[in-house]
């Protein structure tokens, strides 16, 4: 594999997740019991042998840095390379939809200049996946691409407002990018970009130079404008990708972890997703616990009934509780006899005895951090 450095873009509009990302960037939103969203992209990079990772941060980055520390839990506390914090630009409202801002990278140009890696692999921080980037980078070099866009595909039309669709030739060369699912052409599976791409480092530097005068521009847009001159290839990923672009996405992607095939793809048959280690004790089940089809993290104490639910670390479920279809973040306490259905509880929520909280499957109820109910 040729050398590559990574950039994870965490400076993106977080309003889509409403309360969950009010006080934290999307990248730092807890997910899947013990993780935060950025763990997936970051671990994939580290597991793929990438030893230098730059993280473009938004303004409220305290929760993110609290989680990452010096990068020790990802073995990124290194003498050469390691984890670099790249302070992102402050975007105005008009640039809300930008995902990969050239300005964010231009502000941190030294990060690119002082390394001599051939390629830069750039990922978003709001996708749940466990990928090995090595074959993708190898392929990128083999076909001598300038840019490789990684996509997944669906046989049925797959319409989402927030996706970019690709049209490609048989040799893998990308000829069109668009917001429309029919973009991929008739009789071919619909190809959608998973916000993950590889670009030659020198080319990225040239782009920064060339667009110096432009206030702010989306990197993918630049690539789309130059499909003719640049050698842009597509790479079919094929593994599970959970895209977190709404509260409903967040809810469904969490519950998707209860499916065996997805757990296998993310956690079991693969390299580990790394995260901050807290050394919690094992989860403790009481004499009256009834737990079914759920994902339970360490440090929990369960005395009640829990079904189709994801519990983060250190949660207390008291006697007589009935918890169904819920995502509960760390250190929540659910008092005796409470009933919760289709609810997302942010961290440190206390639900008093005998409360009933009910959301809808397609519209879960979100309770924000430290609330007492």
């Amino acid at each position: 594999m040729s050398s590559a450095i990574g950039i994870i873009s965490a400076n993106m509009n977080s309003s889509v997740l409403q309360g969950l990302a009010q006080e934290r960037p999307i990248a730092a939103v807890p997910f899947g019991g013990r993780y935060r969203l950025l763990d997936f992209a970051l671990s994939s990079m580290v597991n793929s042998g990438i030893r230098t990772v730059g993280l473009v941060t938004p303004q409220q980055y305290r929760p993110m840095l609290d989680h990452l520390g010096a990068g020790k839990d990802w073995s990124l506390d290194r003498k050469s390379g390691g984890l670099f914090i790249l302070p992102g630009a402050i975007h105005s409202l008009g640039h809300y939809d930008i995902r990969f801002s050239l300005k964010d990278i231009a502000l941190n140009i030294e990060f690119l200049e002082k390394d001599c890696a051939r390629n830069v692999i750039i990922s978003s921080s709001d996708h749940v996946f466990n990928a090995d980037f090595r074959p993708i980078i190898d392929h990128h070099d083999q076909v001598e691409a300038d840019v490789t866009l990684v996509y997944n595909q669906s046989d049925r039309p797959f319409e989402r407002e927030d996706l970019i669709y690709l049209r490609g030739k048989e040799d893998g060369r990308i000829t069109g990018l668009g917001k429309n699912c029919e973009m991929s052409g008739p009789d071919t599976p619909c190809k959608y970009f998973i916000d993950l791409f590889i670009i030659r480092r020198e080319l990225l530097l040239q782009m920064i130079e060339g667009y110096r005068s432009v206030e702010n521009i989306e990197l993918i847009e630049i690539i789309a404008q130059h499909l003719g001159e640049l050698k842009v290839h597509g790479y079919f990923f094929g593994g599970y990708v959970g895209r977190i672009h709404s509260v409903s996405d967040y809810f469904q992607s969490n519950l998707a972890l209860l499916r065996e095939e997805i757990r296998k793809d993310l956690f079991i048959n693969t390299q580990p997703i790394r995260t901050k280690i807290r050394d919690n004790p094992p989860a403790k089940y009481g004499k009256k616990a009834q737990v079914k089809n759920s994902l339970i993290s360490s440090g929990c104490t369960i005395e009640g009934t829990v079904e189709n639910t994801i519990l983060s670390r250190g949660i207390v479920i008291e006697e007589g509780c009935e918890i169904q279809n819920c995502i509960i973040m760390s250190k929540c306490v659910i008092g005796k006899g409470s009933k919760l259905q289709n609810v997302i509880l942010d961290k440190f929520v206390a639900v008093n005895e005998g409360n009933v909280l009910q959301g809808q499957v397609n519209q879960p109820l979100v309770i924000s951090k430290k609330a007492i109910i």
């Binding site: 899947g32 019991g33 013990r34 020790k72 839990d73 209860l258 757990r263 993310l266 956690f267 079991i268 580990p272 997703i273 790394r274 995260t275 280690i277 050394d279 919690n280 004790p281 094992p282 989860a283 403790k284 089940y285 009481g286 004499k287 009256k288 616990a289 009834q290 737990v291 079914k292 089809n293 759920s294 994902l295 339970i296 993290s297 360490s298 440090g299 994801i310 519990l311 983060s312």
Partner: protein
Amino acid sequence: MRKKECIAMLLAGGQGSRLGSLTRNIAKPAVSFAGKYRIIDFSLSNCTHSNIDTVGVLTQYKPFVLNSYIGKGSAWDLNCLNGGVHILPPFLGENQGSWYKGTANAIYQNIDFINFYNPEYILILSGDHIYQMDYYDMLTFHKQAQAEVTLSTIAVPWEEASRFGVMTTDESGRISEFAEKPVHPQSNLASMGVYIFNWEVLKEALWEDEADVNSEKDFGKNVIPRLLQQGKRIYSYLFHGYWRDVGTIESYYNANMEVLREEKIDKFFELKQRIFSNEEILAPHYIGAEAKIQDSLIGNGCTILGEVHHSIISAGVYVGEGSFIEDSILLPNAEVHKNVRLWKTILGENATVQDDCCIGVEGEDEPAQEGITVIGDHLQIPRGAVIGEGKNVTKDDVRKEGGQ
């Protein structure tokens, strides 16, 4: 090298043969405990919380798992400048060097290492007890009493006193008598295997002990009795907290089950004295739609599809559909396939029990080791096997069964 006030030497070389098949492939301090920890976590975490940043770990018996687990000590925040964890296996010199012949000899052979840090005091620990203790308090006591040696002691039930090294003290705590496993104990103050020495005193004592051809080179049997005879100022530091010896199958099993029964596990996680461990990063555990789990501890990365009652399930364990587990301890990465019954069984690390086995079945005779069945690590119990209670199953047993 800047002089250190106190460094620790952790004796982790023993085989722990009384743990039977649990220590067939790994040293006793590396044996898993309470679903999450390894026994050595307790001593190492205590060091960190006591501001002792330099620890020599003396290894000898099957050290691989232990060495790789300890690494550079970062899991316990012991990867510091000017100190840290040092693994000290036996080594050869120009005209000497050999296997460690006893606890005292192990320290003797590493005098150069200790001199390198040139400490005022030296803390000797054994890596095979479960306890939370602030060694700094003990050191303060040692200094205040102007002791030359301080032994940490704990009051044990009188009927058990003869299993330990017991000591008689005067009012100030100075030890007047020390008896290793006496038949008629004069006291119920037992040694916890935690000692603080003035390094100069210990160095001299180790030379003397080394020169004595009749000595077994053991702290409890030789070094401390000799120092007492010489009239050295030896004090007892009475410890009141939680301390468990897990040297036998029975005591290991009971200490684990005690964690389940009482709130000990919360104590292990108390911020001030939290027990650190070097865990593998695993996903939260998954409980299946037909599973039933009560009165149990379940670690990360497990998949539980069957029933678990009053048991400890360590990280990465798989329990298949229709299986029933009661009063058992499953060590990391053990696998239980479908329709298996396990009663009062310790299932070793990475051991596999295939479909339809029954383990821990009641027999007619009075079972050995309180009826606890132990399956050694990495063993494969073939489909449909029936194993009676109180058995210690090793590799040889499985091979024999297969040959029949």
